[in-house]
Structure formats: structure tokens, C-alpha cells
């Protein structure tokens, strides 16, 4: 399985990537903002899942979801928002724009793994079913 971790904070990218590696995700690409993430998708092929922060400079996570969902070839990609943004209205807005799941910061490592299991991640193989 391949994952894209998008967050302007390097410490948060490190935490998320560490948890993903812990459940067998082999390939992890990181991006610092939505625009960089779009470039990754354009040049590096699509990951199985993108884990995306909301508040980021240049292009935020919500804008990224809107932009990514306009590209038909990228539709199979699961998008999980991983953000401190916790207003109900904003969560609904992100889901409506095409985010598949939503995890509120702060989260424990287990919580991220639980959400991945909900999405069908097989923790033995690191693959999404």
C-alpha cells in the first residue's frame, strides 16, 4: 500500500508516517501543503490513501480535496482528513467535498489505526481491501 501524508508540520508528518509504517504501509510520500500534494499526484502516481491536514499555507486541505476530486483518475484514492479543525459544519463540508474519513487532532496512534481498519486496511499486509 502507498500513502501520501500532507501536513505543513514536519513533526506531524513524522508521527503519521511512523504509525503507517507500524501497520505495514511500505511506501509513504510526504507533502507540505495541498499544492505540493497535487504535484505528487501529477508526477508520482496515485497513492491508495492520502492523509491530509486542513490548515496549511498555499493550498489548504479542503481546497486539496476539492481539486483532487475533480480529476477522475484520482477518484479511487481514499482521502482522510487529519486535522485540528473540529467544527461540525466544517467536517460536513469536507465529507461533502469528497473526503472519505475524518480524524480530529489530537488522536492517539490507535485512533488512526482504527480509522484505517474501518477503511478496510489489512494490518498484516498493509493493504486496503
Amino acid at each position: 500500500m502507498k500513502a501520501l501524508v500532507v501536513d505543513d508540520s514536519r513533526s506531524m508528518r513524522t508521527i503519521v508516517s511512523r504509525i503507517l509504517r507500524g501497520v505495514g504501509v511500505e511506501e509513504i510520500v510526504q507533502a507540505e501543503n495541498g499544492q505540493e500534494a497535487i504535484q505528487v499526484l501529477e508526477t508520482g502516481g496515485i497513492p491508495d490513501i492520502a492523509l491530509v491536514d486542513w490548515h496549511m499555507p498555499i493550498m489548504n486541505g479542503y481546497e486539496f480535496v476539492c481539486a483532487a476530486r475533480k480529476v477522475p483518475e484520482w477518484r479511487p484514492m481514499t482521502i482522510m482528513m487529519v486535522t485540528t479543525e473540529n467544527e461540525h459544519g466544517q467536517i460536513v463540508k469536507a465529507l461533502a467535498a469528497g473526503a472519505t474519513e475524518y480524524l480530529i487532532k489530537p488522536f492517539t496512534p490507535d485512533a488512526l489505526v482504527d480509522k484505517l481498519s474501518l477503511l478496510g486496511l489489512n494490518p498484516l499486509t498493509g493493504a486496503l481491501s
Binding site: G22, H88, E101, T108, P109, D110, A111
Partner: protein, 275 residues
């Protein structure tokens, strides 16, 4: 920390195989505190000795203790995923078709803790089977701890708790913000009843349930008590009903009143010879 890395991967594999719970790498710090009491009780030198004995003997009872110690307090929404997939795709469609003439349905979460299991079922029913919302629903939760019963009744959870396995769409539909917490909407809470009950003591009169969940609690009891609990559960299960125990738990060597069935990646039990 005396447990070396290879011991931890062994433990991760064991917990995963037995409970379908993933111990992430950063849980290694828990090993010492969670397993030392077992070492002391068994008169072993330390955590390493416990793991060594596990590896050599593969003692089922010791495995149970270790898995439980490493996963305790795992109260989460839709725990283990598969049982809920089975409820949604196989178990509830069957029960509901059979119960439609009577328009009633009874579910018991027998170790309801802070309520996540029963509320998960309630939300699942509301979302996938809206036709039963005006039936006579008995959605019961019981727990040994009255503190847990009160917490379940309040239906109030922190961000850390709300994050554990609850699909985002269900969260926004069923919860309101209350300060830094999340509270279940009244209409969901009102559908449920929570009561204090000790499974090891004589049981009160209970209705016949279509579905009973006694998950991740049998481990706390000795074999004769487990047998008594499961056989009592058999008596308050509808002849066509379903019983779920924890993914890491087994009926083998405990009682033979049930027989196992599987669907959607989950194992559940039905009364022997009744289908």
C-alpha cells in the same frame, strides 16, 4: 524497558492474531507496566520471562492474560469492525425479516463499559435499518461498574474517545458538541437503557434477546464461571438468536450449548440444533 524489540514484534503478532487489535510500535512502552503484574503473580523474574514461557509453552490461558493485559481499556466504536459488518449484512437482515410481524427487537450488550458497543449498534440500526425505528426496541447495556453505567447513560465522550473507530459521517449525524466534549443526541440516547449488573452473580429476570454480545469480558472469569455465564445467556437468547463473544475469546472447552457460524469475517454463535 527490558523487553527487546523482537519480543515486542512477537507480542504484536500474538495480539493481532488473537484479538484483531493492532498494537502500534509506540505501544512498546506499555509492555513493562502491563505485563509485570503477571510476572509477579506467576513468580517469574520479569516480563522477558513471561514472554519466554509463552513462546515455549503456548499456554492458552497465559496467552489470554497477556492479550487482555495489552488491550485493556480498548473501549472503541465498532470494535473489531468484522462483527459489525456481520450484523449489518447478515445478522440484522435475518432477525428483522423474522421479527417484522411482531415489530420488536431486543439486543443486550452484556459488558457495555462506557456505552460504545450498544451505541454503535443503535446508530447502525438507525442508519441501515430505518424501518425498525418505530418498532418496540429493547436496547440494553449492563456493566459491573456503576461508574461506567453512568458514563454510558450520559453519552458524553472526549475527542480522544470519539476518534476511536467512529465513522465521521456517523459522528456528525449523531453527536452534538458540548464544550470540548461530544454528546450523543437525545433521540439516540433515549433508545437505550443501561443498568449495573454483575455477570458472575445470580441474574435478574431478563427478556428473550435476539442478539447478545458478551465481548472481551469472559477473560476476567474462571472456567466454571464462564460456563455458567454462557449457559445463562443461552437461556435468555431467543431460539433463533445470535451471540457474539470477543474476537480473541473461545467457547472451546467452556460449553457446548452453542455452535459457531461465520459470516463477513466474523464468528458468532447460535443455539445448537435450533436452526
Amino acid at each position: 524497558m527490558s523487553a527487546v524489540a523482537t519480543d515486542f514484534s512477537y507480542l504484536q503478532q500474538l495480539v493481532l492474531n488473537r484479538s484483531a487489535i493492532v498494537l502500534s510500535d509506540d505501544k512498546e512502552y506499555l509492555v513493562e507496566s502491563r505485563l509485570s503484574p503477571i510476572a509477579r503473580e506467576l513468580g517469574l523474574e520479569g516480563v522477558d520471562a513471561v514472554l519466554e514461557r509463552l513462546r515455549l509453552t503456548r499456554e492458552r490461558a497465559l496467552e489470554d492474560r497477556v492479550v487482555e493485559a495489552m488491550t485493556t481499556n480498548e473501549t472503541l466504536w465498532f470494535r473489531d469492525v468484522h462483527p459489525f459488518n456481520a450484523l449489518r449484512r447478515t445478522v440484522f437482515p435475518e432477525i428483522i425479516a423474522r421479527r417484522a410481524p411482531y415489530r420488536q427487537l431486543a439486543v443486550w450488550s452484556a459488558a457495555s463499559s462506557s456505552g460504545q458497543e450498544l451505541y454503535s449498534i443503535t446508530m447502525l440500526l438507525a442508519e441501515s435499518f430505518p424501518q425498525v425505528m418505530d418498532w418496540h426496541l429493547s436496547l440494553h447495556g449492563t456493566d459491573l461498574s456503576s461508574e461506567m453505567v453512568n458514563k454510558a447513560r450520559a453519552g458524553k465522550y472526549t475527542t480522544l474517545e470519539i476518534n476511536r473507530g467512529l465513522p465521521a459521517t456517523m459522528m456528525v449525524r449523531n453527536f452534538d458538541r458540548d464544550g470540548s466534549n461530544y454528546v450523543l443526541k437525545d433521540e439516540v440516547r433515549r433508545m437505550t437503557t443501561f443498568r449495573q449488573m454483575n455477570l458472575a452473580e445470580p441474574w435478574p429476570t431478563l427478556p428473550k434477546y435476539d442478539l447478545i454480545l458478551i465481548r472481551n469480558v469472559l477473560i476476567y472469569f474462571d472456567l466454571p464461571t464462564r460456563k455458567k455465564i454462557l449457559e445463562s445467556a443461552a437461556r435468555c437468547l431467543d431460539p433463533n438468536g445470535y451471540l457474539f463473544i470477543g474476537s480473541s475469546e473461545t467457547m472451546m472447552g467452556v460449553t457446548d450449548v452453542f455452535e459457531a457460524a461465520t459470516a463477513d469475517g466474523a464468528t458468532f454463535y447460535r443455539l445448537k440444533g435450533k436452526q
